[in-house]
């Protein structure tokens, strides 16, 4: 579906929908995932978790468990050299101040959420480990808990942490919104709520750790961040160069493997026992206690002129951070920055807070706070359009951001903003309206647009490094510490290197995700990996190409600018050529390196004062528009998706197949969150700990997602690519809610959009309902 924007007419591989090397391996079951690893003498480990959402640990006795058959180690918090990990979050308002967001490796005197890890056991067999974990004697004294962020911030609420329940608070105040509202012809107010959502990856958290022959603690783990070797070292209180993390191909991450999971526990147990140790969380464990997506309560007040220009917006966001900070403060920052959506709003006030509760912790998940807000701002746009009689495309066209405009935080958009055209395209792609198939069925259409940052916050000074080198036979090696979460990260790097260095894709080997042996590339999060590491590989490949051509030029008696690398040869004008291996031998003789290590630094900046709107927060943004057609059963409230189209400006599609995969997967995951998925909690107790109750969409529940890959040719990544990992998860819920409103006139403001909620809103359940 790639647009015919020809940027580099001579590209051979970049821009082609090439099959990925890892896809075949996965289908053939040849990929060795973290849990597929085994070693001689390996122990099996398990975690004992808290049954209570809020309790004091009165007694913790591991004596009986430690003496059980096969048990090699039982660890509690007192066995952990440093039990607290911390992330620094600068900025924020004076109410909170700079934050050291912390989490505990194992619970000390208190447990703050159901499923909080309390103790670790390693034993010869998994059954022995589990039996021993059950034999650990823990006495809890239940404490009052708080399970809702609003209640958590009320005076006198039980404190989840001693310092109080307000974890983070961001504020933006731009323009004179009071005056602007006074001028508004229409004002639309809405309150929107989103739910706890699980990453629900195929591959649960898992890994194996061992002490290698060099004494280095080596952990082969399913992670999005191999740099967690530093956290492991800190917890174990050993030097960082004594820990190595190997990140094999993942069966999905979606942010859920951005924080540490099993690696710290494995490190502790390997260090204690001196033996290889394996830990694989069960699906139930993963669903029970792993960090979820933040539920939000979002209050929006939007004012527009009679012709439809948005003049002012007042936004109040409140998120549930769960029991530990993790990345909540940063997730909230993303929400704050994107709260007004891809629209020009001259006067904006945003108040964003998140509070500790005794619910499971919440942290990164695909979209990272920039996706909950889409549901709110796109519902508001639709309502304003309806109030003024403007169609969904028109109201967005009137208000869309353009290049040169600035976001409410003051960041100026420096690259192309594909906004109105994306909306126009998806809307047109829905095609002619189909009539309803029965009297009790109504058909409706909805549109939703979004913006999603790609790349990390500029004050984090992000960088990535990669090594590209030729072997003597002309084959190519790429080394780059990226974790490949399933998005085709590794394969896209190969495509870039092969493109620049004139070899076939099959001649490239790629080594990824090893903190000891591959140059560090940073996290596979924040839609940053192709952007950052793609740039690093591009830079390394270009340098290497220059090195090679400089050596080849005198061999061919021409200037190096007259040379090209094609099909394993250096080619000069007029058809003369030299096989690359010949040039490599000359390099060896002349002492010219046959490899290059490059570091790519993202545009950097200092923390901005959000409140005064002083500048750049993210490197750049990816824009998108989705359109849905739904059928509503007016007697049951059932929503059936009939057609779904999703368009994103990806700048340049390095591999359109992978890009389409991201768009389709993201849209389906977003539809799951929009219509079905919900972690159900009763007083902190999780009722949805299996896939029979945590409902992810099946193939029968979603239509084919038509992905429109739009290439503006502008973006900060290699060949002008933009990040596409997260953006497609943003719009689906809003697109469907808008389609429901179009069909029925009823607006749902709470996710998921269940048939029961719609039936109630339609009045089918009467007053009593």
């Amino acid at each position: 579906m790639a647009e015919a924007v020809v940027l580099h007419p001579s590209l051979r591989l970049v821009g082609r929908p090439l099959p990925r090397h890892d896809a075949r391996d996965k289908v053939a079951a040849a990929t060795a995932y973290a849990a597929d690893w085994g070693m001689p003498g390996m122990l099996q480990a398990t975690v004992l978790r808290s049954p209570y959402a809020s309790a004091r640990i009165v007694k913790l006795d591991t004596g009986r468990a430690a003496a059980m058959p096969g048990v090699a180690a039982v660890l509690t918090a007192k066995d952990v050299p440093r039990n607290t990990l911390a992330t620094d979050v600068p900025g924020q308002t004076t109410a909170v101040g700079p934050l050291r967001a912390t989490l505990h490796v194992l619970a000390t005197e208190r447990v703050r959420h159901q499923g909080e890890p309390v103790a670790l056991v390693a034993a010869e067999t998994l059954e022995q480990a589990r039996a021993a974990a059950e034999a650990i004697e823990v006495q809890y004294e239940p404490l009052p808990g708080v399970f809702d962020p609003e209640a958590a911030l009320a005076p006198g609420a039980p404190r989840v942490h001693e310092a109080g329940n307000l974890l983070a608070h961001w504020r933006i105040a731009r323009g004179d919104s009071a005056a602007a509202f006074a001028r508004a012809a229409v004002i639309v107010e809405g309150e929107y709520t989103t739910q706890f959502v699980d990453a629900a990856y195929l591959e649960p958290e898992s890994g194996v750790a061992w002490i290698d022959s060099d004494g280095v603690i080596t952990i082969r783990v399913s992670t999005q961040v191999i740099e967690h070797f530093r956290d492991v070292a800190e917890v174990l209180q050993i030097p960082q160069n004594r820990v190595r993390v190997i990140g094999p191909y993942l069966g999905g991450g979606f942010g859920g493997k951005e924080d540490v999971t099993v690696e710290v526990y494995l490190g502790l147990l390997a260090l204690r026992t001196g033996r290889p140790v394996k830990m694989v969380w069960t699906r139930q464990e993963s669903l029970l206690a792993r960090a979820k997506r933040h539920p939000y309560r979002m209050r929006y007040r939007t004012g527009a002129s009679a012709s439809g220009e948005i003049v002012a917006e007042q936004i109040d966001l409140l998120a549930d951070a769960g029991a530990y900070a993790y990345l909540s403060a940063l997730v909230l920052l993303y929400s704050t920055v994107t709260a007004a959506g891809p629209y020009r709003v001259p006067a904006v006030e945003v108040e964003a807070r998140c509070a500790y509760t005794n619910n499971p912790p919440t942290s990164a998940m695909r979209g990272f706070g920039a996706m909950q807000t889409v549901f709110a701002y796109e519902s508001q746009m639709d309502r304003i359009g309806r109030a003024l009689g403007l169609d969904p495309v028109e109201i967005r066209r009137m208000n869309a951001l353009r290049r040169g405009d600035s976001l409410p935080v003051g960041q100026v958009l420096e690259t192309h903003v594909a906004m109105p055209e994306l909306a126009e395209r998806v809307w047109a792609a829905l095609g002619p309206v189909r009539p309803a198939r029965a009297a009790h069925v109504k058909v409706g259409r909805g549109l939703a647009c979004n913006l999603q940052p790609y790349g990390r916050i500029v004050w984090l000074h992000d960088w990535s490094s990669a090594w590209v080198g030729f072997e003597m036979d002309g084959s190519l090696v790429v080394r780059c510490g990226v974790p490949d979460v399933g998005g085709g990260q590794a394969s896209s790097l190969c495509q870039i290197a092969a493109e620049v260095l004139g070899v076939g894709l099959e001649q490239v080997s790629v080594h990824i995700g090893d903190s000891a042996l591959t140059p560090l590339a940073g996290t596979t999060t924040a839609s940053r990996q192709l952007y950052m590491s793609g740039n690093a590989v591009l830079k390394a490949a270009r340098e290497l190409r220059a090195q090679l051509l400089a050596v080849a030029a005198p061999m061919l008696g021409v200037k190096d600018s007259a040379l090209d690398l094609l099909e394993g040869a250096v080619v000069a004008d007029g058809g003369r050529s030299l096989p690359v291996p010949d040039v490599l031998r000359r390099c060896a003789r002349e002492g010219v390196p046959r490899s290059h290590l490059a570091v790519y630094h993202a545009p950097a900046g200092e923390p901005v004062d959000l409140a005064t709107g002083s500048g750049k927060v993210f490197p750049d943004y990816t824009f998108g528009a989705h359109a849905a057609e739904v059928e509503i059963d007016m007697e049951t409230g059932a929503v059936r998706l009939v057609k779904y189209v999703a368009a994103h400006d990806v700048g340049r599609a390095i591999n359109p197949q992978s890009v389409e995969g991201q768009i389709q997967g993201g849209a389906v995951q977003g539809l799951g969150g929009g219509l079905l998925e919900e972690v159900i909690l009763e007083e902190g107790i999780n009722l949805t700990t299996s896939f029979a109750s945590y409902l992810i969409p099946t193939a029968a529940d979603v239509p084919d997602v038509e992905a429109l890959v739009v290439e503006s040719g502008e973006g900060l990544g290699p060949f002008n690519a933009r990040g596409i990992g997260e953006p497609p998860i943003g719009p689906p819920a809003a697109a469907v809610a808008n389609a429901i409103a179009d069909a029925t006139g009823v607006r749902l403001t709470r996710l998921p959009l269940t048939p029961e909620r719609l039936a109630r809103a339609l009045g089918l359940l009467g007053k009593a309902g």
């Binding site: 069960t282 009790h440 049951t636 109750s693 409902l695 193939a699 029968a700 529940d701």
Partner: protein, 338 residues
């Protein structure tokens, strides 16, 4: 991964041998057919039999015999896929083919059997959880505990009958042949059930369901509608089975049985009686649907709240009747995914 507890597996070749083995091991033993219900339940420690008597190797238990005209006999070991695809069943006992074809997912229908579906365990949000979870929350009386977490203070368990085929078989007037070590008996299918979430079957633990016997289909038509969240996988949150025999343009006889609204399939006799001798007019259909919703008293221990499920009972009964009457608005004949 959750693991099975240890057990001994016996593989008898005849019904008699199976019944004898069950009698011999008493309360320690359970039969297993496809295992699609029992094995996951064992992983959650909802059942911990020391001995499993496997039924898959028993020839007598499989096979579909007879024709719609004279009635049919379905071996309890017949897979749900085979039931759903059998042309004679599709033609004459349409609701049964529909219900069997709507159970869970294609993979589970290839393993799961009709006998297992008729005996499938009752369900509840507080019970269909891992052992660790139930232990943490406090066990309920259905297994290992002595209270009900849904209705504290209740002396009984309200877990929900969640079979798709049971309400249909009931509405079709099916009977079951039960075989025990000391003999066999044939009982109406409805006599197999009782309204208790724990002891939901009346048969002796040692008795096996050998056959499901369907009466002649002459003149009967039937429909089944299922309420569930997704297009696959999910247990019914409501099942509506309607069977009708028409006398010219009037209803001769009718049966309406609801699934997933109580601990056993729940008939709606008043609604069925209101149909007898009448023309299927839209007005009658509305009245019958209202009557049928009466016996639907779901508790909030599965998906969706009870007001919604009750309301849907009305909608689904009306739709099933419209579908059988050939009126518009029958919904999707097979299924309601809501």
């Amino acid at each position: 991964m959750m693991r099975l507890p240890p057990f001994t597996y016996l593989a008898p070749r005849t019904l008699h041998a199976a019944a004898t083995a069950l009698a011999e091991h008493g309360a320690d033993a359970m039969p297993v057919a496809g295992g699609t219900d029992l094995f996951p339940n064992m992983k959650r420690r909802q059942f911990e039999p020391k001995v499993l008597v496997g039924l898959r190797g028993i020839r007598e238990l499989t096979g579909i015999r007879g024709r719609g005209r004279e009635g049919m006999t379905l071996g309890a070991g017949t897979t749900l896929s085979a039931v759903a695809a059998h042309p004679e069943i599709v033609a004459h006992y349409g609701a049964l083919a529909t219900a069997a074809g709507l159970v869970s997912s294609p993979q589970l229908r290839n393993m799961g059997t009709l006998g297992g579906n008729v005996c499938v365990d009752t369900r509840c949000n507080y019970y269909n959880q891992s052992h660790e979870w139930r232990k943490a929350i406090g066990f309920c009386m259905k297994k290992d505990g002595d209270i009900c977490l849904v209705a504290p203070g209740s002396s009984r368990c309200w877990a929900v009958s969640s079979s798709d085929t049971a309400p249909v078989l009931w509405s079709l007037g099916a009977r079951v042949r039960l075989v025990g070590a000391s003999g066999e008996r044939v009982v109406p299918l409805e006599a197999l059930y009782r309204d208790d979430g724990i002891q939901y079957l009346t048969k002796q633990p040692g008795e096996l369901v050998a056959d499901i016997v369907l009466p002649p289909a002459d003149g009967w038509t039937s429909a089944y509608l299922k309420l569930r969240r997704r297009g696959s996988f999910d247990f019914p949150v409501l099942g509506v089975a309607v069977a009708l025999r028409m006398d010219g343009d009037r209803v001769g006889e009718a049966r309406i049985v609801l699934g997933a609204v109580a601990s056993q399939p729940r008939p709606a006799p008043d609604a069925a009686a209101a149909l007898a001798g009448e023309r299927l007019t839209p007005e009658l259909i509305t009245r019958v649907a209202d009557l049928a919703a009466g016996p639907s008293k779901p508790l909030d221990n599965t998906d969706f709240t009870h007001p919604y499920r009750k309301k849907m009972t009305r909608v689904f009964v009306a739709r099933a009747l419209r579908a059988l009457a050939g009126l518009p608005g029958g919904g999707r004949a097979a299924e309601e995914v809501a």
